[in-house]
C-alpha cells in the first residue's frame, strides 16, 4: 500500500529539474520573473525537506527509513531512493543555503551571464539526488548532474580568473569521475550489485579474494568523493576555484564539499560497519589520519591567505577535514556532534563567502572586478553598482556580520562552531564503556581542532583589522536588502540552532543511531514491496 506521501521523496529531484528546464527558454530580461519562480521552487523544497524530516523522525516509516522504488522495480534491481533523517537534514541544509545564495544573486550576479537560474536549479537537483539515492550508479549520475551544473556556474560571469580556475576544476573533476566509474565497475564485478543496502548485506559473505578486490574498488571510488570534499592531498584545487567563483556560486560550492563528506559517511557506516566480516572497519584509519592532515593543511593555508576568498576556501577545507576525522574515528556519539558541526560550519562559511563581496566594496567602491566580465560577455547595459534601496548603517552591518561569521567558523561561544566543537570534545573524552581510557588519537584530534580554531581566529582577526579598522577613506558601501538579508538569515539560523541545541542534538543523536544500524537499512530497502500492477487478463498473459 503506497499512498501519495511516499512520492514526497521524489519531489526534491523533480522540482528543481522541472523548474530549471522551464526557465531555459525565458529571456534574460525577465530575470525578476525567473527569480520569483526559482525562489518559489526553493521554498517548496524547504517545505518538502521539513516534511521528510518530520516523516522520518516520527514513526510514519518503520525505523525512520522511507524507501521509494523508482518505476516500481524492486530493490536491488531498480533504483531505490531512501529518505532517512540524514537525507532530510542534508536536503534542508541544501535548500536553506540555496535560498541564501539565490537571494544574494538578485542584486546583480544572476544577470552577469545567461541561464544562472537554470544552472542553479540543476545544481540543487544533483545535490538533492545525491542525498536521496541508494544506488551507486545513480549516485554517479546525480554527481555528474551536480558537477555539470557547477562547471557552468564556476564560469558564470566569465573572466580570466574564473576561466583559469574553471579549467583546472573541470579537469580534476573529470579525472575524479573516471575514478568513480572504475570503482563502480570493480564493485559490480566483485559484489554483483550496486545497491548500497544490498552491498552492505553481501560484503560479509564474499570470498577473501573478492572482498579484497571490493575494498580496492571502494577505495578508488572514495578518491572521487575525497576529491570533492578536498581531503589532503586531493584538495589543492579548492581555494583557487572558490576564490574565483562568484559569491553565490561559492556559497553553493561550500555545500558541495559537504555532499562529498555525506557520501563517505553514508557508504562507510553502511558497508564497513562492525558487522561486515573481513571487511569490517576498513579504511577508517585512512579517513581519520587523512582528515587530521587536512585540518593541519587547512589551518596553515588559512594563516597564509591574503585574499578573503582563499581564507574562506581553507576554512571549508578545515571543516571537511574535521568531519572526515569524525567519520574515521568511528564512534557513534562523535558522529552526532560532527553533524552539528557540519550544519553550523557550512552555514557560517557560506555566509562568509557572501559577505566577502560586500566587504570588498569598501576597498573598491567601483565594480572594477565586473568590468572585465562585462566586456567579455558583451553586456552593454551593465548592472554595475546595484540599484535600489540601500540599507543604513552598512558599515555596522558588515562589521557585525564579519564578527558573526568569524566567531562561528573559529568556534568562539556563543555561536554554533563552539557548540559543535565542544560536543566533539565531550564525545572524545567520554569513550564508550568498551574502551579503557582516552586514546592518544583523541588527544591529537582534540589538539588539532583547537589549533585550527586558533589559526582561524588569527587569520580572521588579521583580515578584519586590516579591512574594517583600516585608516583612510573608508566609504560606507551601498548594500541592498537582498544582499544583507541572506547573510542575516544564515547567521540567525546559526544562532537558532545553538539556542535550540537540545532538540537539534536529540534529532542528530537519533540520526546517528539509525546510521549505525546498517542491518535495518538492508531489511528496509530490500524488503520494500512493489505495488501490484493492474490485473492482466489470464489469456493475454505470457505463458509463464
Amino acid at each position: 500500500m503506497m499512498d501519495w506521501v511516499h512520492h514526497l521523496i521524489l519531489l526534491p529531484v523533480l522540482l528543481p529539474l522541472a523548474c530549471g528546464a522551464a526557465l531555459i527558454p525565458l529571456h534574460m530580461s525577465r530575470h525578476r520573473f525567473k527569480f520569483a519562480v526559482s525562489m518559489g521552487v526553493l521554498l517548496a523544497q524547504v517545505g518538502v525537506a521539513l516534511a521528510l524530516m518530520v516523516l522520518a523522525d516520527t514513526e510514519y516509516w518503520p525505523q525512520g527509513i522511507g524507501v521509494y522504488l523508482a518505476a516500481n522495480w524492486a530493490a536491488p534491481f531498480g533504483i531505490a531512493l531512501v529518505a532517512d533523517r540524514l537525507s532530510a537534514l542534508m536536503l534542508l541544509l541544501a535548500s536553506v543555503i540555496g535560498i541564501a545564495a539565490l537571494l544574494f544573486s538578485l542584486g546583480r550576479w544572476s544577470r552577469v551571464g545567461v541561464h544562472f537560474h537554470s544552472l542553479f536549479q540543476f545544481l540543487l537537483m544533483g545535490i538533492n539526488g545525491a542525498c536521496l539515492t541508494h544506488d551507486l550508479f545513480n549516485l554517479f549520475v546525480f554527481f555528474e548532474v551536480m558537477l555539470g551544473a557547477s562547471y557552468g556556474l564556476v564560469l558564470h560571469g566569465y573572466n580570466v580568473a574564473r576561466i583559469r580556475a574553471g579549467m583546472q576544476y573541470i579537469a580534476i573533476n573529470l579525472v575524479a569521475s573516471l575514478l568513480f566509474l572504475i570503482g563502480l565497475a570493480m564493485i559490480y564485478g566483485t559484489a554483483g550489485t550496486l545497491n548500497m543496502a544490498d552491498l552492505a548485506g553481501r560484503v560479509a559473505h564474499l570470498g577473501s579474494d573478492e572482498s579484497q578486490l571490493l575494498r580496492v574498488g571502494i577505495a578508488v571510488l572514495a578518491i572521487a568523493f575525497l576529491t570533492k570534499s578536498a581531503m589532503w592531498p586531493l584538495g589543492f584545487w579548492l581555494p583557487t576555484t572558490y576564490s574565483a567563483a562568484s559569491p553565490p556560486v561559492a556559497a553553493m560550492f561550500v555545500l558541495m564539499t559537504k555532499v562529498g563528506v555525506y557520501v563517505i559517511l553514508r557508504i562507510w557506516l553502511l558497508v564497513f560497519s562492525a558487522e561486515s566480516g573481513a571487511a569490517a572497519r576498513f579504511g577508517y584509519e585512512a579517513l581519520l589520519w587523512g582528515g587530521l592532515l587536512t585540518v593541519g593543511f587547512g589551518s596553515i593555508g588559512m594563516m597564509a591567505s591574503e585574499v578573503p576568498g582563499r581564507l574562506a576556501g581553507y576554512a571549508a577545507i578545515v571543516s571537511s577535514g574535521i568531519l572526515l576525522s569524525v567519520i574515521g574515528y568511528g564512534q557513534a556519539s562523535l558522529v552526532a556532534a560532527g553533524l552539528f558541526y557540519l550544519l553550523g560550519s557550512t552555514m557560517a562559511i557560506a555566509a562568509f563567502m557572501l559577505l566577502i563581496e560586500l566587504i570588498e566594496r569598501i576597498r573598491t567602491p567601483g565594480s572594477s572586478l565586473l568590468a572585465v566580465t562585462m566586456e567579455a560577455f558583451g553586456i552593454e547595459d551593465a548592472p554595475g553598482e546595484p540599484v535600489g534601496v540601500g540599507i543604513p548603517g552598512s558599515l555596522a552591518f558588515l562589521g557585525l556580520g564579519f564578527a558573526g561569521c568569524a566567531m562561528a567558523i573559529a568556534g568562539i561561544p556563543p555561536l554554533t562552531g563552539f557548540v559543535g566543537k565542544f560536543a566533539m570534545f565531550h564525545a572524545l573524552l567520554q569513550p564508550g564503556p568498551a574502551e579503557a581510557g582516552i586514546s592518544p588519537v583523541a588527544w591529537i584530534f582534540g589538539g588539532l581542532v583547537i589549533a585550527s580554531g586558533m589559526a582561524a581566529i588569527i587569520s580572521f582577526m588579521r583580515f578584519g583589522v586590516r579591512t574594517l579598522w583600516a585608516q583612510g577613506a573608508v566609504l560606507p558601501p551601498r548594500l541592498l536588502v537582498s544582499e544583507a538579508a541572506p547573510i542575516t538569515i544564515l547567521l540567525v539560523l546559526c544562532i537558532a540552532i545553538t539556542i535550540a541545541g537540545g532538540p537539534v542534538f536529540a534529532y542528530l543523536g537519533r540520526t546517528s543511531d539509525t546510521l549505525h544500524q546498517p542491518a535495518e537499512y538492508v531489511e528496509r530497502v530490500l524488503g520494500a514491496t512493489t505495488i501490484p500492477g493492474p490485473q492482466v487478463p489470464a489469456q493475454a498473459g505470457a505463458g509463464q
Partner: protein
C-alpha cells in the same frame, strides 16, 4: 583474450595519464578522452568476457550461464553519454580560455611570462 584486453586498457589509461599531466590543453583533453575510453572498456569487461551469448532474457526458465550480463552494457552506455557531454563542455572552456588568455597553457599563462 583477457590478457589482450587488460593490456589494451592499461596502455590506453597509461597514455591518458601521461597526456593529462602535460602542460597544453589539447594534450590534456586527448588524455581525458583516452582515459575515458579505457574506463568504458573496463566497465564493459566487468560483465566478464562472453562469446556469442545474448544479453536479453527471453521467456521460460533462465540459465544465467547462457546469457551475457546486460547491466554493464547499460552502465557503459550511460557512462559514455555522460563522459562525452562533460568532455565536450571542457572543450568549450578550453576554447574560451584560448581566446581570453592567448595561450593554450593549462595555467592560462606561459611559464616564465
Amino acid at each position: 583474450m583477457e590478457a589482450v584486453i587488460s593490456i589494451g586498457i592499461g596502455v590506453l589509461f597509461g597514455s591518458g595519464i601521461w597526456l593529462v599531466l602535460r602542460p597544453r590543453t589539447f594534450q590534456v583533453i586527448t588524455g581525458l578522452l583516452l582515459m575515458s575510453y579505457a574506463v568504458n572498456l573496463f566497465i564493459f569487461l566487468m560483465g566478464r568476457l562472453w562469446e556469442d551469448l545474448p544479453p536479453i532474457v527471453g521467456d521460460g526458465p533462465v540459465d544465467p550461464a547462457l546469457h551475457a550480463d546486460p547491466l554493464p552494457q547499460a552502465l557503459v552506455l550511460t557512462a559514455i553519454v555522460i563522459g562525452f557531454a562533460t568532455t565536450a563542455l571542457y572543450l568549450v572552456v578550453m576554447i574560451g580560455a584560448r581566446g581570453l588568455t592567448d595561450t593554450d597553457h593549462v595555467d592560462g599563462e606561459e611559464p616564465g611570462a
